[in-house]
Assembly symmetry: C2
């Protein structure tokens, strides 16, 4: 959708170039809309469009909507109060890792992905 960010894409159209299950794709599109990453237009000729500038949507934004950001937030050993009461054995090392991941994900935007070409981030061959 970033290829033409002003246009409206129907779920059907997106489906054709993505090879993930149609109904699941629909669910994700709705989720992304609810979370403000996409704008949806209902009714006939409706569809979805990217809601902001490409440069303002990061991989982290998307993951936080659609995926699972546990690695980024959890203590390595799973301690609930890690760093509040007492640090776990590798707290600092692991916090650095998490920060690294965070940096990469939050600094990589759709604009950047678009630049490197669709085939470098769209998986349509499984």
């Amino acid at each position: 959708m970033a290829i033409d960010e002003k246009r409206l894409y129907s779920s059907n159209e997106v489906f054709k170039s993505l090879k993930i299950p149609f109904r699941y794709l629909r669910k994700l599109l709705i989720l992304l809309s609810k979370n403000g990453l996409l704008v949806s237009v209902q009714g006939k000729n409706g569809g979805y469009r990217i809601a902001k500038n490409l440069v303002d949507i990061s991989l982290l934004d998307i993951i936080q909507t659609v995926g699972d950001d546990q690695v980024i937030n959890k203590c390595f050993f799973g301690f609930e109060g890690c760093a509040f009461e007492k640090k776990c054995a590798i707290h600092d090392k692991w916090a650095a890792v998490r920060e690294h991941i965070n940096d990469v994900l939050s600094s990589t935007t759709l604009a950047e992905l678009k630049e490197s070409g669709p085939q470098s981030f769209i998986s349509n061959n499984n």
Copy 2:
């Protein structure tokens, strides 16, 4: 078990100080033995002992036996041949993250954990 590395610990004994399900613990101990991280002694008065010097067992070793090292090895976008045929959009950035994780896990040994004290890596309060 690193607290006294020369001693034999029965699964029952380990169980008492760990609060994870007994049968699951047994399974893990067997797995760790099979993979050479523990030495097991069968029969009455049997048990387990750490198989090597504490400094030669890393978190990575343990995870590779008992856990799931996908994050460390997989392409961010899940491309199978990433970096062989063509790099994905964030290949280099993500490779750096993976290497960072690898560094931390492979350089953190049981010896180091032991130094920072059992309560900083043993989770017995869930």
